[in-house]
Symmetry: C2
């Protein structure tokens, strides 16, 4: 850690740690007032933020970014208002910090309390969307955590303008100095420097594609909460309500195909395939979905594209669906546990014993009976806000709300007990 | 992953994953019966285990291991019986798997259940004590996890004999094949191979010294639950019951100095130091404790060894205590958060407002009022068993019992809901 960039980032880490102790002492009311002040700060600085955003858009066009990328980068008055409103919404949510998780007295009279506390310091490494600067900082702040933000180079002007508006307006309302810090330059070495400073960062959350997550995982010394692929399945049993099944398949696949809780592989029990497969295929094709079938599927429908082994472990994120015929529930379970990404999987059946076996046997964050995979979502769970959907099994699994941005501490009260 | 050792360990990982799915399906009664059978298996194989242990002891003596190391390696009839009894004790503990953590219905009628499930597969990397082979495997098994055990080279014969007794006797009672696997050789490369296979291992728990933990942390792609130093403090306020304070200091320092929850630094409020420091020092010296004081201490007691900056961040693990005089509660809090290891810290005071401020402001897993630091322990918390004391903030913090060896899953039951 001798080079100037690493030194500068470590210095930010040290300041974040000091800020975290001040944040932990703020009341919920104080934090909510600061969140509202920061929302207003974004509105007050709209002209500056949009003009900085224009620099990123111009640079992006010069670099030849795709129109999808440019759209992700772009802020306008209504998008910025949505970001500001989101901060105000976070202010209305219950604060998990201070919640007593358990409370008991030992036979020797020691009273032990397990209580939610902030994690401390969180690094957020993200790609092109500048709204993440405000969203992630707000969720971490609400839960009493200091953040170090590292956005993508394409959005650096926008990110600096947003972070500066948040800090300045927050400070007037009592935001501790260095509670929200953006790394103001985008050297590639930033990620390695952040990943190495486990004395200053308690957690890193990468928000972006698989490549970014892989890089962070391979470098990080501290915990990383990962949000990998969603290779989600629906299994249609011979005991399914077939009309319901087709509705759920359509909703899971086409309502928003580019997200991690969209359907990627459909499994159909063999005994109903002859009739059910063509019906479903025709409904999907009407919505423009490309279908790739297993060898058995092709026997029933010769016009399907043959699926390869690779299809079973592919997250298409577009209107493509792989379909496989299985003999039994057990075969479906084995397929999902082997090829899936342990994100979200659903069974359609009227037989509750079969459903319960599926729910118990699938090793995924969200397992569903007679419901669209699209419900694996913090908002749909009623969490009020979501920092991501974890594909990890430790600390947080599945949709992550505010609660998942906290740790806990044991507070023990005695009257002189010794061992 | 082309070399034969890595390939062999990855193959073990793949088998562990398959075993984990079988383990998740076992009932608590089945698991408890298997634990009792494994305990009996250790007893039935006593002769074999002790004779293999003798090989390790002989090799250790030839290698010139210290007598403390040899003692850690050594098994005899009563030590083996203690290991067997511990397995039977684990069988009596409540099984956290299947516990419903939360349960609610969304306005659209979806019923969402958050339920404890096994983590899946856990790697345990440990040093010389062969009893860890049985202890760690039993706790992981009770919670439905498959384990891959990697013990130290000094105990390889003992570990193989114990693992073989567990597997053979467990199998007769229904233990799934490959649920408990020991890496049967001790190449250094094992650790790197385990740390790299995040597709097969969900978690690694290193049990050993700082060097081992550091190595695992730097290599691991999966989460690691760490058990770093315990640099524990007691702060004696001017409002303390001084007799209680001396009792707590003595108990925390000398009852078992070699453990992570033993006291390492004593902080004394300046206003009482002139009287309290010599009283405490004399009580500690009577117990053979070496005292190292700050510059202010030396003014009151010139015969103390001067403490250096390094002392404040040293875990002695022996009868040595560093002592610092502080002006205020705030100075004590800052010292502890700066130099401590965020493990366990205690305040002695009769003023409850002061105590509450201490509890809220110290960033440690266990914070205490008027209690010995030695109570930071899964047994003393009533957990029934302990896999370690985590110095991490994510997933598990402080004493870890069975509950901390589980993850959770969302099970969602609907009747055709779509978005």
């Amino acid at each position: 850690m001798s080079d100037p960039i690493t030194e500068q980032i470590h210095a930010m880490g040290k300041k974040a740690r000091a800020a975290a102790y001040q944040l932990a002492a703020l009341s919920s009311d104080q934090k909510n007032a600061i969140l509202r002040a920061m929302a207003q700060g974004l509105r007050d600085n709209e002209a500056e933020i949009l003009s900085e955003n224009q620099k990123d858009l111009t640079a992006g066009q010069e670099k030849g970014l795709s129109s999808a990328m440019i759209d992700r980068l772009k802020l306008d008055s209504s998008r910025l208002e949505a970001v500001a409103s989101a901060l105000e919404h976070v202010a209305t949510l219950p604060d998990p910090v201070g919640q007593v998780l358990e409370d008991w007295t030992q036979p020797n009279g020691l009273r032990i309390e397990q209580i939610r506390v902030p994690i401390g310091t969180i690094g957020i490494i993200y790609e092109s969307r500048p709204n993440v600067t405000a969203d992630a900082a707000a969720l971490c702040f609400k839960t009493g955590n200091a953040t170090i933000l590292r956005g993508g180079s394409e959005a650096i002007h926008s990110n600096r303008a947003i972070a500066s508006a948040l800090s300045t307006s927050g400070a007037k309302a009592g935001l501790p100095e260095h509670a929200i810090q953006l790394i103001p330059f985008t050297d590639r070495q930033n990620v390695a420097a952040m990943a190495g400073m486990d004395q200053w960062l308690d957690l890193i959350i990468p928000r972006g594609g698989k490549g970014l997550i892989e890089t962070v995982v391979s470098l990080a010394r501290m915990p990383v909460i990962k949000h990998y692929d969603g290779i989600c399945h629906i299994y249609v049993s011979e005991k399914a309500d077939q009309e319901m099944a087709i509705n759920l398949i359509l909703n899971s696949k086409v309502q928003k195909p580019g997200v991690c809780n969209a359907l990627e592989t459909l499994l159909i029990q063999k005994s109903i395939a002859k009739d059910f497969l063509p019906k479903t295929a025709s409904a999907l094709r009407e919505k423009g979905v490309e279908l790739r079938g297993c060898q058995n599927c092709l026997e029933f429908m010769s016009d399907l594209i043959p699926a390869t082994e690779e299809d079973w472990s592919t997250e298409y994120l577009e209107k493509i669906l792989s379909i496989k015929i299985v003999d039994t529930l057990e075969e479906a379970i084995t397929h999902i546990n082997t090829y899936g990404s342990h994100h979200t999987d659903s069974i359609v059946t009227t037989d509750s014993a079969e459903a319960e076996k599926f729910l118990r046997s699938i090793d995924s964050a969200c397992v569903m009976h007679n419901a669209s995979t699209r419900f694996a979502d913090g908002g749909e769970f009623g969490f009020g806000a979501e920092i991501g959907i974890s594909t990890d099994k430790l600390h947080a699994r599945g949709p992550m709300g505010l609660r998942e941005l906290t740790s806990y501490q044991y507070r023990i009260r005695g009257n002189g007990q010794t061992r």
